[in-house]
């Protein structure tokens, strides 16, 4: 394949250090790519896409009220991370996750961080994710955030920053695992030559963690899914399968007589641990949102009586609130006495007067996010927004300042992506997955999400994003 001069456009490129030179971790890959005959890479791309469709690696979405399925777009040019760089990231991620857990435990119990005036209490108790039902509760093994997806970006200065934390049902790991299988089949020669850290351990580590938090020795474990029409259903089914646990919907279970039971053809069987992929509020129509059809009435009571364990613990979302995010560096300092190894993106918290003033006068250069939205919704990208959009957003901020944070637009790094017959840079981020059980395990690499549209910065699957395989060289 003929690789002409590559356009960097002023962004940090993961592969190219200059228009023609590849970074050390990419050198072998580049050579290999150049040696591929014309049309070969397109052929392989097509094979991959067909395979994704056959395997049913899709996500569900709603277009004009009609349920549709689409393959989660995948680009075959991987994102490669060198060994030294990864070691630093891994340390930083472990530090962050560990501190977040201490924070959550403290908030629902002693509240030392509030008493020591490190974080204003209103910020915490006004968060939608704060669950008063969890006051005074300590989950098994004192762990709240069993599964974490910490979104990282690399800025034009070449440094990694944490973009946001995800402690509430972070999704995407199934794509990591399946993408890797696909890549191994499509580029076997690469894997044979490079020493890419494998990812197959993830389901095992996940299962180990679920065992670890159980209240009983031989637990029956299930994965609670909203069902086949949920956008991440494929992942729920995939992980349940890989771990050999039951895939359950709310109506498969009933809480009665102090425990939670699964309806089987041979009577009721007790379930001991649930990996739940349902939002906190929908877990239990009896004790939480009464309109929920997805949960199990009475589940929360059984949980608080320690007759069932839940991963992640309800109430964990307090740490992935976008406003709390701004305080994480302080949180790490407070509980660990350390500076964060991976910095936050500079963040302005609109509930603080001086920050609010700055944000309102500088909307042109800022990205403003609503505290509790996900999927890229409720966001304003200042530099790309119209005057009208900016004015409307100012009103929203003034009406509810606690709900908004703002960050300068970061120059997301790019990775070459196949566009027709050319390689063009597309912006990416990185979501490593971290499992907190007996130890803290960081999956090597994670999901590299790529904004497939030229110039776009939005990487979410529901808004035109795709993914790439992430290779960490051992």
């Amino acid at each position: 394949m003929n690789l002409g001069a590559y356009k960097l456009d002023g962004f940090f490129d993961e592969m190219y250090s200059s228009q023609i030179e590849a970074r050390p971790e990419y050198k072998f890959y580049k050579r290999n790519l150049e040696n591929l005959p014309e049309g070969e890479i397109q052929r392989r791309k097509h094979l991959v896409e067909r395979s994704l469709l056959t395997m049913g690696i899709t996500f569900n979405f709603y277009k004009d009220e009609v349920h549709s399925e689409a393959i989660f777009p995948f680009d075959i040019v991987p994102r490669i991370i060198g060994s030294d760089e990864w070691k630093l990231l891994e340390k930083g991620l472990k530090q962050r996750v560990f501190a977040e857990n201490l924070f959550i435990q403290d908030i629902y119990n002693e509240k030392k961080i509030i008493k020591d005036k490190v974080i204003p209490p209103e910020v915490i108790f006004s968060s939608r994710a704060y669950l008063p039902q969890m006051e005074g509760f300590t989950p098994p093994k004192k762990i709240w955030n069993h599964i974490n997806g910490t979104d990282l970006i690399r800025h034009t200065d070449g440094n990694y920053y944490v973009l946001e934390d995800n402690l509430r049902c972070p999704s995407g790991v199934s794509y990591v695992l399946e993408n890797r299988e696909n890549m191994k089949r499509t580029f076997p020669e690469m894997f044979e030559a490079l020493n890419v850290c494998p990812v197959y351990e993830y389901p095992t580590r996940l299962l180990d963690m679920l065992h670890y938090i159980s209240h009983t020795d031989s637990p029956r474990i299930g994965l609670l899914t909203p069902g086949a029409y949920n956008s991440a259903y494929y992942e729920h089914s995939f992980l349940a399968n890989q771990m050999g646990i039951d895939l359950l919907v709310g109506s498969d279970m009933v809480a009665d007589n102090g425990a939670v039971w699964i309806k089987t053809t041979n009577g009721y069987k007790q379930v001991d641990v649930l990996y739940r992929r349902i939002d906190d509020n929908f877990l239990d129509p009896l004790y939480l949102n009464p309109e929920s059809l997805l949960g199990v009435p009475g589940l929360l009571r059984v949980y608080k009586n320690e007759k069932i364990s839940l991963a992640n613990a309800p109430g964990t979302g307090i740490a992935d609130d976008k406003v709390i995010y701004a305080y994480i560096p302080k949180i790490i300092k407070y509980y660990l006495g350390e500076e964060p190894l991976i910095p936050n993106v500079p963040t302005y918290v609109c509930s603080e007067q001086k920050d609010l003033g700055y944000v309102l006068s500088n909307l042109d250069t800022l990205v403003v996010k609503a505290a509790n939205e996900a999927g890229g919704y409720g966001m304003l990208v200042g530099p790309h927004a119209t005057e009208k959009e900016k004015l409307e957003f100012k009103e929203k901020i003034r009406a509810n300042p606690r709900n908004y944070i703002a960050q300068p637009t970061m120059g997301l790094s790019r990775v070459p992506t196949l566009s027709g017959n050319e390689l063009e840079g597309r912006h990416v981020d990185l979501r490593p997955y971290i499992v907190y059980g007996k130890d803290i395990y960081v999956l090597p690499g994670g999901l590299t999400r790529v904004a497939l549209k030229k110039g776009s910065l939005v990487v979410n699957s529901s808004q035109g994003g795709g993914s790439k395989d992430t290779w960490v060289i051992a």
Binding site: T54, A228, V249, I262, K263, T264, N266, G267
Partner: protein, 328 residues
């Protein structure tokens, strides 16, 4: 196994079987219609009549003709028993329980659905009906092959078998009933070439032609009825299906032979037993169409009992003690 999973596996297999039967059925009768004498050609009504969906058909299309019958039975999603509807339902059921299936099985049913849907959109059923129906049969046969060679022969496998056998028994009754709906002009007699032609088609609809010939030789209506209802070796004979279904239901509950532990087993066992000791003379005397009607009714009954006993949960877990002891 989860009741929801058992339910889905049961229905997935029923839908695939139904889809295959519909395909074979339409295929054979399309072929039959070409051999019919002038004036008798284009008898599309019986094809729809025998599925029991005639009312719906009339509502949607009015007068039957080749194109609209093919569309109705083939790709119309408003007909929940059309080929495409069955395949779609099977696939949706599979998707909800895919962690209980092998990868091959899931990928097969998923890609088949995508391919067949594309073929329908291209109008393959009209341009190359015979080739198209063959594809459908292959989808089913591959599916069955995979069930047999990639699923452990435990509870899930037995629910699959139970579903398929119940559906197959029902389908054979419909195939036999076709004769009732094909009108014979009064000038024609039983045993006439036309009559024989129709019986021929019935055998082919059940893929029974060669096996029947080996057992009986001459095409005679009485013997055909005996073969398709009472034979215990031929895989599409109703008695064979009931024996298989019974074996599977016993495997699921662990019940001993000649007893029953729930109402589904009771009714299934009773029907199987009835066929064990029935003669074709008695069927003919009762009236073929009437007997088939009664059979279909009993089969429906058994299906309802299966649902009641295995897929719905009646007792509350407060009676858990009883189950816990059972386990120990």
């Amino acid at each position: 196994m989860l009741t929801r999973v058992a339910d889905s596996i049961f229905w997935m297999n029923r839908y695939i079987e139904r889809m295959e039967n519909n395909a074979r059925f339409i295929d054979v009768n399309l072929s039959l219609s070409m051999d019919l004498p002038q004036g008798m050609q284009e008898q599309w009504e019986p094809l729809v009549q025998v599925t029991g969906e005639y009312e719906l058909f009339e509502e949607l299309y009015g007068e039957p003709n080749r194109e609209n019958v093919l569309r109705f039975l083939g790709s119309d999603l408003k007909n929940s028993n059309s080929i495409l509807s069955c395949l779609y339902s099977a696939r949706e059921n599979a998707r909800g329980v895919r962690e209980n299936l092998s990868t091959e099985l899931w990928e097969h049913i998923n890609s088949s659905y995508i391919n067949i849907r594309e073929e329908f959109e291209k109008g393959e059923i009209f341009q190359n009906a015979a080739g198209f129906f063959k594809k459908i049969k292959t989808v089913s046969q591959l599916f069955i092959g995979m069930v047999h060679s990639t699923l452990s022969k435990t509870e899930g496998w037995h629910f699959a078998n139970l579903g398929r056998m119940m559906e197959r028994a029902d389908n054979t009754t419909r195939i036999l009933d076709l004769k009732y709906f094909y009108l014979l002009p009064s000038s024609q007699e039983v045993g006439s070439p036309l009559d024989l032609l129709e019986w021929h088609a019935i055998l082919k609809s059940a893929s029974a032609y060669e096996m029947y010939r080996k057992s009986y030789g001459k095409i005679q209506s009485r013997e055909i009825v005996e073969f398709l209802i009472l034979d215990r070796y031929f895989p599409r004979a109703i008695r064979f299906c009931l024996i298989e279904a019974e074996n599977s239901i016993y495997a699921i509950t662990g019940t001993a032979n000649r007893t029953y532990s729930n109402t589904a087993e009771k009714k299934l066992g009773a029907l199987r037993s009835e066929l064990d000791y029935l003669s074709v003379a008695e069927i003919i005397q009762f009236g073929l169409h009437e007997y088939i009607d009664a059979l279909q009714s009993k089969l429906n009954d058994i299906s309802a009992e299966i649902r009641e006993n295995f897929f719905l949960q009646k007792e509350s877990p407060a009676s858990i003690e009883q189950w816990r002891n059972k386990e120990e």
